[in-house]
């Protein structure tokens, strides 16, 4: 059977992206680290541009590597600033987020002006363009997504303990710092997976919104994780559909509009339902 390859790439890409970011976003939300995801996503932009400038290639693996390196540098900056100063985490993240993103945009504009280098569609990384996904990119997304899902499944009990009660985890001898690094690393991977489709600007919504929509309906961490994956991939598909059919609409904003609707609908429905429950059954 012949399916249009663009449509196939987009559907697969959004399913992978939605599930992976829903799953990792659940942990980010429960650990109150939504802003960390936002910082890592914005910090990925200069990495993408610099990787292109150094290699002259736009092979997905090279750009992803660049994004991961600059995301990791931003994360280290963040944690060393938090260790050595008394600044509020939100403030530090705002500084890291805006300065790395500023660097990325500046480099991107400079590249755009230089006559020799072709822009290579790097501006797609700002707001995302699912229609530009090629099979190579989807394959890389699939492999990285599978790594995330397998590691979360293997370390589910460890990540649950880390998210619920890290101090207790440490007191029983778990290497909490290592577990935290692995979880943050996976968060970074999930962000990288979404860069072409959603773009750096709105990637954090892709992490946070599905988890927020799933939270009121979940009685267990497994339920919340799966619920967020379903919300993420559904909204991903809907947004990509709009972006494919309506000319000039970037995918990221389209997906985020659906995510916003999902969050509001979830909270309103929950409120309605709760009002009809007897008091003792209300969560």
């Amino acid at each position: 059977m012949l399916i249009d390859s663009t449509v196939r790439n987009v559907v697969l890409g959004c399913l992978i992206l939605g599930s992976v970011s829903g799953i990792l976003g659940t942990f980010a939300v429960l650990r109150r680290q939504g802003l960390v995801g936002d910082t890592l996503a914005h910090a990925a932009l200069p990495g993408v541009v610099i990787a292109f400038m150094l290699s002259g290639s736009k092979a997905p693996l090279i750009l992803i590597l660049g994004a991961s390196v600059s995301g990791w540098i931003a994360m280290s900056l963040l944690s060393s600033a938090l260790r050595t100063t008394r600044l509020d985490p939100g403030t530090v993240m705002a500084v890291v987020l805006s300065s790395t993103f500023g660097l990325g945009v500046a480099l991107l504009s400079w590249l755009q002006k230089s006559p020799t280098a072709s822009l290579a569609g790097l501006d797609k990384y700002l707001l995302g363009q699912a229609a530009s996904l090629v099979s190579d990119q989807v394959a890389v997304m699939g492999i990285l997504g599978a790594v995330c899902v397998i590691l979360v499944a293997l370390l589910f009990k460890e990540f649950k303990l880390l998210s619920f009660d890290p101090v207790f985890a440490k007191s029983t001898g778990w290497p909490v710092a290592i577990l935290e690094s692995v979880l943050t690393g996976l968060l970074l991977v999930s962000i990288v997976v979404g860069l072409n489709t959603v773009g750096v600007v709105l990637m954090s919504a892709m992490l946070v919104a599905p988890a927020v929509a799933a939270r009121p309906w979940s009685r267990s961490l497994t339920g919340m994780t799966l619920g967020a994956a379903v919300v993420g991939s559904t909204c991903g598909l809907l947004g990509a559909g709009v972006s494919l059919t309506v000319p000039k609409v970037p995918t990221g904003p389209a997906i985020v509009v659906f995510l916003g609707v999902a969050v509001v609908a979830s909270l309103v429905l929950r409120h309605e339902r709760r009002a009809r429950l007897p008091a003792w059954r209300r969560p």
Binding site: L30, L154, L155, F156, K157, E158, K160, L161, S163, F164, D165, V167, F168, K170, S171, T172, G173, W174, R215, S218, R219, S220, L221, G223, M224, R282, P283
Partner: protein, 242 residues
């Protein structure tokens, strides 16, 4: 006899400010000790520093004669209730089973044995009927009992409990104090950070009085003397006034 817990020259600071200054303490196996002192005396800090949850400026800590890092499987720590987010999507049984995670080791999921053990420990605290309840629906006292059950699941020899009786209902308080006596009867060592001077004398056999420095340590009747208590509670206040 090797002490269950032995602390030597322990000093901890928050920035420039000392939180604990040069503490020496031994806890005998089978003892039931209350750690008391005014706010900011370093009671919670003592437990955290012992477990290596906070950096020490100086000092050594041995549990059962071995470095603390090698003895964590014999110790249960019950943090203050406020340390966690009770809106986390999980139920009572699931939290109690977390006490079994370390013994399970990497990757292995809790199974029927861990479930049975957790239910038994919840039952010891009288909340087995709540096992399927969301933790967001618990009262403060019920939350505390879940934490105590999680510690029992760990099956330790040494219990370090941070304010387990703060803001709980009368039933929970009676259950908890009962449990401490039972544990002592089984030869376990129990150390409880405690705020209520009234109950110390009735339940505990030893008391440690802290105010950054160690003020007193000994049998309850010696430590809980007005003259000794004044040294910790009013002594601290005088310094603030000066």
């Amino acid at each position: 006899m090797t002490p269950a817990l032995s602390i030597r020259d322990l000093t901890v600071t928050y920035g420039e400010k000392p939180a604990l200054w040069d503490i020496d303490l031994d806890f005998e196996p089978g003892s039931l000790t209350a750690v008391v002192g005014p706010n900011g005396a370093g009671k919670s800090t003592l437990l955290k520093a012992v477990l290596g949850l906070l950096p020490k400026v100086a000092g050594t800590v041995l549990a059962f004669g071995a470095p603390i890092a090698d003895s964590l499987d014999r110790i249960a720590y019950v943090p203050q209730r406020s340390a966690v987010d009770w809106d986390f999507p999980t139920d009572v049984l699931d939290v109690a089973m977390m006490g079994a995670y370390r013994k399970l080791g990497w990757f292995r999921r809790p199974g029927a044995a861990e479930r049975a053990k957790a239910l038994e420990c919840l039952d010891r605290l009288g909340i087995a009927d709540l096992s399927r309840r969301q933790i967001s629906q618990l009262s403060g006292g019920q939350q505390q009992r879940v934490f105590l059950a999680r510690a029992l699941v760990q099956d330790p020899d040494l219990f370090l409990l941070d304010e387990p009786l703060a803001g709980v209902d009368v039933t929970t308080e009676e259950r908890a104090l009962d449990l401490f006596r039972q544990l002592q009867g089984q030869g376990k060592t129990v150390i409880v950070v405690h705020h209520d001077l009234e109950t110390v004398r009735d339940v505990f056999d030893r008391a440690v009085l802290l105010n950054v420095r160690l003020v007193a340590n000994g049998p309850v009747r010696d430590v809980m003397e007005p003259a000794v208590l004044r040294k910790a509670y009013l002594g601290g206040r005088d310094q603030v006034v000066c």
